[in-house]
Structure formats: structure tokens, C-alpha cells
């Protein structure tokens, strides 16, 4: 990161000296400008990263000093029925919520793109939920809407249907959280809209001259041109979905219930690490999560060459 600071005793050609002086000055300046970031990297990120790897091999409980227990935590995970359940809940959530959210976002972006008047208004309208949705307030609202006497059931009652208590029923509770994720499609939609703008109009004009219909144009131009952005969104949304916490925590009152049906991985991690202070165990859980995310990201990148299209 930093260039060495040796005084130049040998006279070089003027231009080379100037060039070298500049390079060195940049190195020094970079060291100064990057200092806060570098301290953060070591103290807030890499230090704790290594420490948590170490703790995952111990029985650390915050109150007594950690004892090395080898792979015991990791082995225990696979016999922990709640951990297996949390893994299942999280997987179901990721593989349903992410495609749903991105699918809606893409459909709306395409629907909006064709020079529609009031585009900015609609973009804001649909974007707003993704800003609000991460808050506790919306989770509180969700708890009401999908409650036994909630807004949804009130609406169903108009048609004479008596709805279930969506939140209190283990069969439907996770659905409410998936619905919440879908509700927040606005931010990927904005990214898709920006991507659509980049597709040159002449492609469509050429396709229209060749007699390609709307669907054909989408399949042969729009989607291939958008794939880098779709890919980018898939990678990031998956990483994020694996880490979902707040909504499940608030909606279930911190339990992950009913019957662990909303026990997200991170929620169980919190219960273990900060509820029962099994911090060694929680660290092992965190490392497994990191591995899962890494594997999913690697799979995404590995498969990307088969479907992601780069112009240039």
C-alpha cells in the first residue's frame, strides 16, 4: 500500500524524476487517505473474522474463558433439530423470495420502460416500500395485516371467506415474510430501469425491420442485454436474503415461531449467541453461514458464463 520512502541520491533525467516523485507522493498520500479504512479493516473486520473462527472451535460463553473443543460445535449442528429447521426455513425463503422479488421487479421495469408518461412518479411510488420495508414499523404493520383479525382477513370477509391467522399458523407464517420481500421489489426495479435505458434503440429498430415481435424482441434483445444486471441482482439479493433477520424477529416476537416456522438462520444464531450465550456455537453457525453464502455466490459465478451475456 505504501511506497518506500528512500531519498533519491541518483540524479535521473528530469521527466523521470518528476514522474517518480509523483508516484511516491501518491503512495504516501494513499497511506494517509486509506488509514481510517485500513484501521477499520484490521480492527472491525479481519480481527473479529479470525477471532470468530477461533471461537467456533471453543465452548466460549462470554463469562468464562474459552476452551478448545475442536470440531464439536460443527458436529453438534447436524444433530440440532432447530438448526436443521432454521436452515430449511432460510433455504425456502431464499429460493422463493429472491426469484419472486426479482421477477416482479423485472416485469414492472419492462412495463414502465417504454417511454411512459409519469415514469418518475411510478418509479418513486414503487420504490418507496423498499425503503420503508426494512423498518420495525412495517414489521409491526405486517403483524397486524396478516393477523387473525387483520386487514387481509377483513378483506376476505367481504367475500364471505374466513381467513386463517396467517401469522399464527405455521403453514402460512413464512408466506407473510415472503410477501414482504416481494413487496420490496422497488430497488431492483430501479436498477433494471437504469439497465434498460442503456440498450440502444437501434437494436429494436433493426429487430422490428426483421419482423421480430414483442416477445421475440424481449428474448433476443432485452433479456440478453439485461443479464449482467440480473446476475448482479441475483448475487446480491441471495446474499442479503440469507441474512434476513429484523422482520422475522419482530413478526414472531423474537421466537421464530409459531413452531419455528419463521426461525431464520440469523434469528437462531442470535438466540444461541446472545440469548443463551453459546457464543462458540453461534460462531460456528456464523462460519457455516459464511460458507453457504460463499458456495451460493460461487455457483452463481460458475453458471453465469452460460447465461450472462456481455456486450463488448
Amino acid at each position: 500500500m505504501m511506497a518506500s520512502d528512500g531519498s533519491t541520491s541518483v540524479r535521473l533525467r528530469p521527466s523521470a524524476t518528476a514522474h517518480k516523485r509523483r508516484g511516491r507522493a501518491d503512495g504516501r498520500a494513499a497511506a494517509v487517505f486509506l488509514l481510517p479504512w485500513f484501521i477499520g479493516l484490521v480492527v472491525i473486520t479481519i480481527g473479529p473474522l479470525i477471532a470468530s473462527l477461533y471461537l467456533s472451535f471453543t465452548d466460549f460463553d462470554l463469562l468464562t474463558s474459552p476452551n478448545w473443543i475442536g470440531f464439536e460445535n460443527y458436529l453438534e449442528l447436524f444433530q440440532d433439530s432447530r438448526w436443521l429447521k432454521s436452515l430449511k426455513v432460510t433455504f425456502i425463503y431464499v429460493i422463493t423470495a429472491v426469484p419472486l422479488q426479482l421477477g416482479v421487479a423485472l416485469a414492472l421495469a419492462i412495463f414502465l420502460d417504454k417511454g411512459l408518461r409519469g415514469l418518475n412518479f411510478y418509479r418513486s411510488l414503487f420504490y418507496l416500500p423498499s425503503l420503508l420495508g426494512g423498518s420495525v414499523a412495517i414489521a409491526v404493520l405486517w403483524r397486524q395485516i396478516f393477523g387473525k383479525d387483520g386487514l387481509i382477513n377483513g378483506f376476505l370477509a367481504v367475500f364471505g371467506i374466513e381467513g386463517p391467522g396467517w401469522i399464527n399458523n405455521p403453514d402460512t407464517s413464512l408466506l407473510t415474510l415472503i410477501a414482504l420481500a416481494a413487496w420490496m421489489f422497488g430497488s431492483p426495479m430501479v436498477i433494471f430501469l437504469a439497465g434498460l435505458r442503456q440498450i440502444p434503440d437501434m437494436y429494436y429498430e433493426a429487430a422490428a425491420l426483421d419482423g421480430a415481435g414483442r416477445w421475440r424482441q424481449f428474448r433476443s434483445i432485452t433479456f440478453p442485454m439485461l443479464t449482467p444486471i440480473v446476475f448482479f441482482n441475483v448475487v446480491l439479493q441471495i446474499i442479503e436474503a440469507f441474512q434476513s433477520f429484523t422482520q422475522a424477529f419482530v413478526v414472531s416476537g423474537g421466537t421464530g415461531g409459531p413452531a419455528d416456522s419463521t426461525l431464520f438462520y440469523t434469528l437462531y444464531l442470535y438466540q444461541k449467541g446472545f440469548g443463551s450465550l453459546d457464543m462458540g456455537y453461534a460462531s460456528a453457525m456464523a462460519w457455516v453461514l459464511l460458507l453457504i453464502i460463499a458456495v451460493f455466490t460461487a455457483i452463481n459465478f460458475a453458471t453465469s458464463k452460460h447465461w450472462v451475456f456481455y456486450d463488448e
Partner: protein, 300 residues
């Protein structure tokens, strides 16, 4: 670490955009049915929120019997009841949240801008490698760090202070914003510094007097996103703030909902509304920067 071409492709190019829009607008047939669909969808999406706003002004008994958006009977007592429902008045939690938010915004503005400038405009050994490290931290789940961070801050007796929430922001650990600044600084022409260097300006002067003033849009984006994300943040605040008098708005609201269980929705909605209001205002006045920010970095 998806490649930079993806991101650059996302950078809006205003000139071509205008042209494209004009040609498209010219040949688009009647679209009223599209507006009907979009408005209906927008209404369905926002109905729950609007209903919550209106419920905050309804007497408790009327909330479920009156599904309309305009209260048939106005009741402002929910706000007073909610404001004083917890150990401290709600203003105390708002102040706590504002301290954390202000510290985080200032921290990110300073530290991420500095790091972004270095990665984008300075030449130094191993720049690409360090940049890759920075991008890798973007993907690191907080959960692998949180236990040791908790231990570290608790040994320093800093649990139940705002330090564990603000200090990381002063140290540019929000890689997202470093990346945002890098993207922005890279887009500025090289002649800027070259001219300043000929005038004998050093890096500090170039950064403070040339780069920062030009970076106002990116700074606004950083400030706005940091505001919203910190205001909404729950996980870290839940971990580091356990005493009731140190609680922030999201924690207070969660305590409130767990304490009432669902008996006093009116005051709960009133306080929810209070907590959503700042986000809505920031959105209203800063949406230009929000949209530009997500379009530039490709992340929400």
C-alpha cells in the same frame, strides 16, 4: 466481485437517455390502460401503509370496524398515549436514534470519501489487491463478526454506548459507500488534478478544494442512504444497546409491540407512523440522489 463492466454499464448516460426517451415517446400509442394498471397496483401496494396512517387517527374500537382510509371519527389521543407508553417518553428514543444517525452520517461522509478518493484517483502499490479486499468485505455477513465485536466492545466497557454503532462508520467499514465514492471519483476527468498539480496543489488541497465540491451528489447519496439504513437498523442496535434508556427508535417500537401484544393498535400505529415519517421526508426530498445512487452502484 462482479466485474466493473457491469457497474459501468449501469452508470446513466444522460445524453443518450434523453434521445431514447424522445424517440420512444414519439411512437407510443395510447397508454391509458397502462396507467390504470400501474395506479391500481400502486394503490394495492401502499394501501396497508395508508391504512396504518389513518388508523393512527382512529379510536381503538374503530380500527377494525372501519377499513376506510378517512377516519369517520378522528382521535388524536393515540399519539399522546403512544408517546408516553414506555419507560421514557418517545422523544428520548428519537434523540438516541438521531445521535447514532448523525454520527454514522458524519463518519461515512469522511471516511468513505477519503478511501474512495484513494482507490479511484491515487496510484499506489497493490491498489487492485486492496480494492479487491475492500469489495470482499462488502459480501461478508455481519454475523461472522458480531460475537468478537461484542466481546471487544464489552471489554472496553462500551456496551450501552453509541460507540460500537458509530466507530465502525468512522473507519469506512461500510464498503458499499466506499465503492459508491470510487465509482463517482472515477467518472471525473483526469485534467482536474493535472491542472491543480501544475498550480502546485498537494493531495489534501486537491481532495478538499476540487474533489469534494464536485462530489456533492455522491455525498448526498451517501448521507441519505446512511440516514435511512441507520434509522432502520435493528440487528446491531439490538446487540449493542440493551439498557432501556439507551434504546433507539426501532428497539423502543419493538419493546412497545411486545408489551402491548396487540391490545392498543391505535397508539402502536401512531408511534410506527412517527418512526416512518423521517424516512418518508428524506425520500421525498432526496429521491433524486437515491435513484442515482442505486443506479450507479447497482445495489439497493
Amino acid at each position: 466481485m462482479s466485474d466493473t463492466s457491469t457497474r459501468n454499464a449501469v452508470l446513466p448516460d444522460t445524453s443518450s437517455r434523453v434521445a431514447v426517451r424522445n424517440t420512444r415517446a414519439g411512437r407510443v400509442p395510447s397508454t391509458w390502460w397502462k396507467h390504470v394498471i400501474l395506479l391500481a397496483l400502486g394503490l394495492v401496494m401502499l394501501y396497508p401503509v395508508l391504512w396504518m396512517v389513518s388508523s393512527a387517527f382512529k379510536p381503538n374500537a374503530k380500527i377494525f370496524s372501519d377499513p376506510g382510509l378517512i377516519p369517520t371519527e378522528w382521535d388524536f389521543s393515540n399519539f399522546a398515549a403512544g408517546w408516553n407508553a414506555l419507560e421514557s417518553p418517545f422523544s428520548a428514543y428519537i434523540v438516541n436514534s438521531l445521535i447514532v444517525v448523525a454520527g454514522s452520517v458524519v463518519g461515512n461522509l469522511i471516511s468513505c470519501t477519503m478511501a474512495g478518493y484513494a482507490f479511484a484517483r491515487l496510484k499506489f502499490k497493490g491498489r487492485n489487491a486492496w480494492f479487491a479486499v475492500m469489495m470482499l468485505t462488502l459480501m461478508l455477513p455481519i454475523h461472522v463478526l458480531i460475537v468478537p465485536q461484542y466481546v471487544m466492545f464489552s471489554q472496553a466497557h462500551l456496551i450501552n454506548t453509541f460507540v460500537p454503532l458509530i466507530l465502525p462508520k468512522l473507519l469506512a467499514t461500510d464498503a458499499f459507500f466506499v465503492f459508491l465514492m470510487v465509482q463517482f471519483f472515477r467518472s471525473l476527468p483526469a485534467e482536474l488534478e493535472e491542472a491543480a498539480r501544475l498550480d502546485g496543489a498537494g493531495h489534501a488541497r486537491i481532495f478538499l478544494q476540487i474533489m469534494l465540491p464536485m462530489a456533492t451528489p455522491a455525498l448526498a447519496t451517501t448521507a441519505i442512504f446512511t440516514f435511512i439504513w441507520t434509522w432502520n437498523d435493528f440487528f446491531r442496535q439490538l446487540i449493542f444497546l440493551t439498557k432501556p434508556d439507551k434504546q433507539t427508535v426501532p428497539l423502543a417500537l419493538r419493546t412497545f409491540v411486545d408489551a402491548t401484544g396487540g391490545s392498543s393498535w391505535g397508539s402502536l400505529f401512531a408511534m410506527s407512523l412517527v418512526t416512518l415519517l423521517p424516512i418518508f421526508l428524506v425520500f421525498l426530498f432526496g429521491q433524486k440522489y437515491l435513484v442515482k445512487g442505486i443506479a450507479t452502484t447497482g445495489i439497493k
